[in-house]
Amino acid sequence: MKLWIAFWNIVAKDFRTYYLKPPNISWGLIFPFAWTGMFFIRSGRGLESIADILPGVIALSILFGTTSLLSVTVTFEKKNRSFERLLLAPIPLELLMLAKTGGAILFGVVNAFVPVAMAAFLVNPLRVDWLVFVPAVFLISVASTFLGLFIAVAVSEVFEAQTFSNFFRFPMIFLCGLFFPVSALPVFLRPLAYVLPLTYGADMLHGAIHGGNVMPFAVDLAALAGFCVVLFMVSLYNVRRRWIA
C-alpha cells in the first residue's frame, strides 16, 4: 500500500511535469502526421496503401515518443541530482525504475492510437485485430521504453542520451520491417533485424492490421517479452553499478 503511493506519485509527477507539457503533446500529434503524410505522398498510391504503412508509423511513433522521454525523466534528473531524492527513498530499485518508466510506457501506448485514429478517419472501415494489436502496442511500448532506459542510464549527459538513442533508432527505421519486409533487406543485414525488438513488434502490427505477419504471434510475443526483461535487468544492473558507485 505504502509503496503503491510512492509508485503512483512518481508516475503522476512525471506526467504532470513532462508528458502533459504542450511540446510533448504536439510532438505526439505532429510525428504521426508527418510520417503518414510523407509515406502517403511518396507511395503515391492513394488511400488504400495506408493500411500498409500504418504499422510502421505506429511503431515509430512509439519508439521515438518513449525513448526521447527517458533522457528527461532519467538522465536529466540524474544530472540535476533530483534522482538522488528517489534513490534516498525506501523504495526497491526495481519498483523505482518501473515507476520512472511507467509514464513513458503509457505515453507510448497513447501515441500509438494517434495514427490509428487518423487512419480510421481516412480508411473506412479500418479492420484491426485488436486482440493482437493491443498486446503488440503494449509490448512495443515497454520494449522501447526499456531501450530508452538502457540508453539513459548508460550516459551522463542529456545530449549524449539523444545522440546515443539515434544510434539505435535510425537503423531501426530501415532494419525492422516497418515499411518493407525484412526479406527485402540484403542478406548480410537480415540477422541484424532479428536482434532488434521492433522487428517482432512490427511483425505483430502487420498481422493485426492487414494479416501480413511473417512469424507466428507466439514467437513475436516471446521475443518482445524477452527483450523487455533483458533490457530492464541490464538497466538495473547499470544503475546499481554506475549510480550507486
Binding site: 506519485n9 509527477k13 533530483s82 534513490l87 534516498l88 527513498a89 523504495i91
Partner: protein, 325 residues
Amino acid sequence: MNDIAIEVRGLAKRFGDVQAVAEVDFAVRAGELFGFLGPNGAGKTTTINMLTGLARPDAGTVRIGGIDCTRNPRAAQHLIGVVPDESNLYPELTGFDNLCFCAALYGMAGGERRARAGELLEMFDLTAAAGRRFGGYSKGMKRRLTIAAGIIHRPPILFLDEPTTGIDVASARQVRRLIGELHEHGTTIFLTTHYIDEAERLCDRIAFIVAGRIVGVDLVANLVHPVRDKQVMLIACAPGAQDLVGELAEAFPALECTCPEPGSIRIEAREPIPVGPLVHFIEARGAEVSEARKIRPSLEDIFVRITGIGADAMRREKEKSGGKQ
C-alpha cells in the same frame, strides 16, 4: 532502534588516484548530535553518500539503526533523512508540491502529506512562498525547503551536509535553531560542517576528518577542556613578526609565542597576558602593532593543534570555492 544509531568500521573509498576516505571508524549513539568537521575535499560528502546508500564503499562495514548496510547500501532508507549539500528538489514544482511529493515517496497518504507539508512550510517560514516554483527561490529559501524535505517523514536519523554553507547569517541562525530543536526531540543527527564554531555550539561529539582520515574524535566538552583555562592573544604587527617570536619567548618565559602566519604573533598563557609590556616590547624593536586582540580559545585551537590546518585558511578556501547551493 538499538543504542548505536550509526556504526562505521574501516570505511574506505577511492576515486581514481584520490583516496577520498580511508579507514574511517566511528559510532554515533541514538539521539546524539555528531559533528563531522573537516576542510574542503576532506571526504565528508563521500562519507555521507556511503552512509545514505548513494555510494558503495570500497571496504568497511556500515550499520544504520542496527541494520547491516554493507551488502545493500539502501537497506536502511526508511530510517534516514538526508539533506544534501546541494539542493536536489524539483525546480519546476512549487515548494508545497515538492514537499508533498517527498512525503509520498515515504508512503504518506494524501491528507497527511498536505498537513505535514503545511506544518513544515510554517516551521521554516516559507508559507508565503508555498505556491511559488522552487527554481525561483533564493539560496536561503532553497536550503530551508531542502531541510524540510529531509525531515518530512520524521526520520529518527538525519544526515545534514553543510546545512549553513552559502546562506546569510540570519538564515544560518534559523537553521541552527531548527537543528537544535530536532536534536532536543531525540533525532540522531550527523552533521558535516567546516564552521568550527557551529560544530562547537551544536554538537555533542565531534570527529575531525582531514584527507579522508579521522584525526580525532571526542566529546566537545573534553576537546575544549585542555584549552578552556588558557589565555590567548593575537597580535598583528609588521614587519618582522617572525623574528620577534624568539626574542619574546626569552623576555617573557611564562608566555608561549608562535607565529601562525606572517604578520601575526600568537601568545598563549595560563595567567593573564601583560598586554602593555608586550606591545612596548614589540614596538621598541621597530615593528608596528596594528591590533592586539584577546581570543576565546575554542575548538579552532584544537583543530589547528591536531590537524595543522589554520581555520582561517580553511574558511578562505571555502569562500574561494563559493558557497554552494
